[in-house]
Symmetry: C2
Amino acid sequence: MQTGPDIARVAALLGDPGRANIVTALLDGSALTAGELARQAGVTAPTASAHLARLEQGGLLARQRQGRHNYFRLAHPEIGQLLEGLMGLAERIGHRRTRTGPKEPALRLARVCYDHLAGELGVAMLDGLVRDGRLAHEDGQLRLTEAGEAFMADFGIGLVDLRQGRRPLCRACLDWSERRPHLAGSLGAALLQRFQALGWASREAGSRVVRFSPAGRAEFAATFGLTG
Amino acid sequence: MQTGPDIARVAALLGDPGRANIVTALLDGSALTAGELARQAGVTAPTASAHLARLEQGGLLARQRQGRHNYFRLAHPEIGQLLEGLMGLAERIGHRRTRTGPKEPALRLARVCYDHLAGELGVAMLDGLVRDGRLAHEDGQLRLTEAGEAFMADFGIGLVDLRQGRRPLCRACLDWSERRPHLAGSLGAALLQRFQALGWASREAGSRVVRFSPAGRAEFAATFGLTG
DNA sequence: TGCATGGTTTGATGCTCATCGAAACATCGT
DNA sequence: ACGATGTTTCGATGAGCATCAAACCATGCA
């Protein structure tokens, strides 16, 4: 008999392949309809509907009705963090769904984690920002320095807007494939959006892959002082 | 159809209340026998045996036969990290097993996380170490500074031994109750052991609670420069 | 060589729940 | 108003599995 949070309830929600596929599909931060999720999960509409109801009831998903469509998204960014942690552990333990798929390398290079950049380039970006004194680790938190504020403003990020929301500006998120942190939080999300606006990178439809153009990749490396 | 690590397998293992109780009981880093775990989990010996077999098969637990006893422990420290993450999320979402139990405050103040100090005092200690320049955040990793090495040696920590193992010396572990990191890794484990050797604190049998004596608490605060 | 104790295996039972087809419901475009 | 599309509800089916009692195996002690 133990006290404390009920981890079994949450784990059981993620313990079904269908539901796991659903939340993984939502890990890119998008909001998908019930039908899309059913297809992604490889189940029929009724089963998906039942799963979605349970996930919503369990507090993992948020539902937004829009006309005849039902959009679902992760209820909280922290859920994405947990999923990355689960992936890391599953990988270490050797539980893999398939032999490394074809688009696996692209996924390891650059992917979306909820709504920010993850993968090799994601952690490299955070490293660069810290090395150049734009972000600072402080009491285990990430803080934007004055130099960092100037840098972001120059890069076209509207910090004022970002500080409006109650979501933290900077946050370290442990990367699944790199096993080191990358930048999350509203700033991380804004940066990824900016990359897309600048045409440096684009999201691959229906996957978490972020594809950089050769020119965009070069600009990216130059901006954050990456050698690789 | 998705690729990548199979999170459902791992989550399903943790999704049963019996198994969740088992791993939670092992979260204090101890190695317990099958019988003890059966009692902790509130199931009979046969069911526990089945659960333990599945957990071992799944790579979450390591078994060590000693005579007619079977000792189980978490297969890897990272599993403890994931469990704390799961607890944090479950708490946020509002899944609690019971109304806050009686020993809950003690647990939030100071407890064992796998083998190192967690809770209010755990994060305060890390804060103090960083503030005083003994640990430094670097590229998202924790590093022991020169001043820190001197401090640890003076405090009676044998760094040479710690560096032998392949386990990282310092590691940040996200605290379940405080939602901020505390110090893990072999150094974190060594510090907790030292506290016990000095008589500052002692483990409460059969729980994760770490109980500081009044004098020990004062020494602790003085050593790490805590005001609270 | 026995007896006690810890642990696992086996077998049987019952429950939860994932799944899908069919039908009902809701919304949109025409 | 009506057909088309997206979504949920209902009902039925089946599989997986958690559970325990009883039997079995192994180790330690006398």
